[in-house]
Every structure is written in C-alpha cells, then in structure tokens.
C-alpha cells in the first residue's frame, strides 16, 4: 500500500516540472501544456487527500478543475491562434506588449 506522503511527493515533483517548464520554455503552446501539467499535479493532491480522509468533496473539486481546464484550453488556444495570426509567432520573447 502506497502511503499518502508518496502521492504528495509525486504531485510536488510533477508540479515543479510544470512550473520549471513554464519558466524556461519559449513556445507559448508548450507553456500552455506545462500549465495543464501543474493543474494535474494539484488534482492528484486533491484526490489523494480525498481518498485518505474519506471526504468526497475533493473529487468533486477535481471535476470542477477539469471543467475549468477544458474551458481554459479552449480560450487559451484561441488566444494563441489569434496572436499567431497577428504576429506570425508564438515565441514569447517577441510578445512584450506589457512593457510600457
């Protein structure tokens, strides 16, 4: 039987990989996938706690996280397409409109 701590450690590692990807990758779509990975790490934590504590709300929350992730995927990819049309690139070093 795997202990709760092991699940949490896996989750932490997955989350960190995702976060690192967000930080050093330059392709907007890859960054996007990394964010999905981070969300999944959180989901894993939620399910693990839910099952170990016997509290079902955690799983419902995961369900909602997935819903939001799906919505986010749709909108996020649409934005990527829109940006690509506009700037012919999804390389985020070229996207610095936030600079005043």
């Amino acid at each position: 039987m795997t202990s709760l701590a092991n699940y949490l450690i896996i989750s932490a590692i997955l989350f960190s990989i995702g976060a690192a990807g967000v930080l050093f990758r330059r392709n907007a779509i890859i960054i996007f996938m990394c964010i999905e990975l981070m969300l999944n790490a959180v989901n894993l934590t939620l399910i693990a706690f839910s099952q170990f504590l016997g509290e079902q709300s955690g799983q419902v929350l995961v369900f909602f996280v997935m819903t939001v992730a799906a919505a986010e995927a749709a909108v996020g990819l649409a934005i990527v397409i829109a940006i690509y049309r506009n700037k012919e690139t999804v390389h985020i070093d070229d996207l610095n409109l936030l600079k005043g």
Partner: protein
C-alpha cells in the same frame, strides 16, 4: 516532456504522462476520475493542442536552461520550492492519515460522485456549464475574428 525541442513530441509525452496519472488515480480507487482523466485530458484537450500545433506549423524552438540568468534563477527557485514542499511532507509524515480511508472504494464510483454533483453541488455544477459555454463562445470569437 519539458525538454523536447519538438512541440509534437512534447505533446505526445504529455499524453503519456496523463495516462500514467490516470493509473495513479486508479491505485487511489478513484475510478470515475481516472476515466475522465483519460477521456478529457489525454483525449479531448491534448487533441486540441495537437491540432493547434499542426495548424500553426511551428519551427523548432530554441531555448536553453542557462541562456538567461533570470530563467536560471526561476528554475533554481522551482527546484527550491520542490525541495521545500517535500521537506514539509516528510516532516509532517506522522500527522497525515497513514492508510486509505475505508470509504474510498465507495466514493470513487461514478454513482457516488454523480450523487454528490447533482445534490450538494447542483448549483456550482450548473455554473460550470455556464463557464464552458462562455469559453466556447469566447474561443470562437477569438479564433474567428481577424485582429487588426
């Protein structure tokens, strides 16, 4: 997955990761979410991502871990966070539940998750559908309109 230069191989590796995660869910006796994980994440979302990658026909990406001191700092920071969190988990190992709850097998089923969704969380559930429809409409608008 994060180190592949080719976006397509990145995406395919992510699909594999999601499938493994679904397996982990199964070991946790969360059958319903495991299936949803495969269907929604590994299936729907990643297919969408792959479509976009193909649509944009991207060149190989140039990036390096050490190219920029800020990036390096960030990656090191993430590593530090990971270490810290694992430290916290290990430190508090004795305070968290040691064994899986006896209710786990029951509450992972479609039936019980569905009951919870449609009873206790009926209103948030409806709101979630609203979020989805908004996202769908928003995506269409964003992707369709020619930005000037």
């Amino acid at each position: 997955m994060v180190t592949r230069k080719n976006a397509v191989s990145s995406a395919l590796l992510l699909v594999v990761t999601f499938c493994f995660l679904a397996g982990i869910y199964l070991t946790l006796q969360a059958q319903f979410l495991a299936v949803v994980q495969v269907a929604v994440y590994a299936g729907a979302i990643m297919v969408l991502v792959l479509f976009v990658i193909m649509l944009l026909n991207l060149k190989e990406e140039r990036f390096s871990l050490t190219g920029n001191w800020k990036t390096l700092l960030g990656v090191l920071g993430v590593g530090a966070i990971c270490a810290q969190v694992i430290a916290i988990i290990l430190l508090s190992k004795d305070k968290i539940p040691q064994t899986i709850s006896p209710k786990a097998a029951v509450q992972g089923t479609v039936e019980s998750v569905g009951m919870m969704l449609y009873q206790t969380y009926a209103f948030p559930f409806e709101m979630a559908s609203l979020v989805l429809i908004t996202a769908a409409v928003g995506a269409i608008v964003l992707a369709k309109k020619k930005l000037q």
